[in-house]
Symmetry: C2
Subunit: 242 residues, 2 copies
Amino acid sequence: MRKIETVLSPALFHLYEDGIENKIVVVIDILRATTTMCVAFENGAESIVACATPEEASNFRNKGYLAAAERHGETVEGFELGNSPQEYTREKIAGRKIAFTTTNGTRALQMSSAAKQILVGSFLNISALAKQISKSDSDVVLFCAGWKDKFNLEDTLFAGALAEKLSGGLEITGDASQAALDLYRLACGDLQGYLQKASHVQRFKSLHTESDLDICLQMDATKKIPYYSNGLINLLRYESAH
Amino acid sequence: MRKIETVLSPALFHLYEDGIENKIVVVIDILRATTTMCVAFENGAESIVACATPEEASNFRNKGYLAAAERHGETVEGFELGNSPQEYTREKIAGRKIAFTTTNGTRALQMSSAAKQILVGSFLNISALAKQISKSDSDVVLFCAGWKDKFNLEDTLFAGALAEKLSGGLEITGDASQAALDLYRLACGDLQGYLQKASHVQRFKSLHTESDLDICLQMDATKKIPYYSNGLINLLRYESAH
């Protein structure tokens, strides 16, 4: 039976790299990188380059890219876009290429490079993602990007939610997957209420980006599935054709 | 207000080392190192040397120590003791010094060396431990030893149980502490039943040490609090005097 494993922090990813070349990795950074990527593609972005540093993102401007950079939860000075999904409107980004760097999410994508397939997950595309994964024949690693290598609740809850959607056909493997699933079941009646305890949500309040949380917890707002390959994020062809 | 933080794996400990010299670290390896240490002191062991390797533990035999070594859940060949609390009977260990090495627990103790105080925690001494911590004035780090750096449910549940006992006087800080607390509250009605999903319990079944689980989940079987300092585990004087 195909298996689902869960990585609760990038600092634990090395423990799951065995055989990764045969596995699908779902990268999860709910607040906000992977959510924002889903919004960007839903609103017509052409592609996204995942950059390691703001400098690297900035250099893509010469090639006509929009440059987006976030560090420590805030837009880096001098950049037209940060990491808030609300900034990625159709008006701004339809048909555009974006060079994007964030504290946790883009790093987790890069760490997953050796995987068979790397999908970008968020509550916005969770059902499309589950459907796509169900059709494949690989084991799955749910990779929580965390916050500066620390465990966080929002990524873990999403891992649990996706594990639940997949649990009919795949085996939930390991204590981390079990914990994610149980925490999700505990919280699912009121995700937003539950996440008031999350340290990142507290951080949001101090950064005045609280309204992002509503967007980041929207279920099934898009059927688009971004995937990462060779530094580039594009739309999976199957899903973009539907 | 004093704070409680939770480290879900030794691979995340470095994220919590800031100011560790002013903090109490509780090292948690429920299945089974820290449980077995509590049993050993309850049954009259004089002291325990935490060794990094079976070879190091073996060398202490010349000085009259009992040598205990566990790797991958099993007693290392040629050692009189392993890591099962059932082996640490009063007949065998009263008045004896023990040289002890295990896969995860002794390593976590050694990693904590820089802390102000390092306490050995298990369900067996949980109330004594909570009382002792309440009387101090330091922040607390609950350090789950995990399994080969992976997150595990049993250590996390204990962290949640201890956090709950301390929550009246200390602030539960960070998403990991919150998750541990919520998982404990979910599981506390039937810890043994809940832990049937834990991968370590599955491993136990294959190693025929299932009966250890009953012992490892006993609440308040002892008032003894072992502490670690300079490679040695001894009894806290306050508690041993009562």
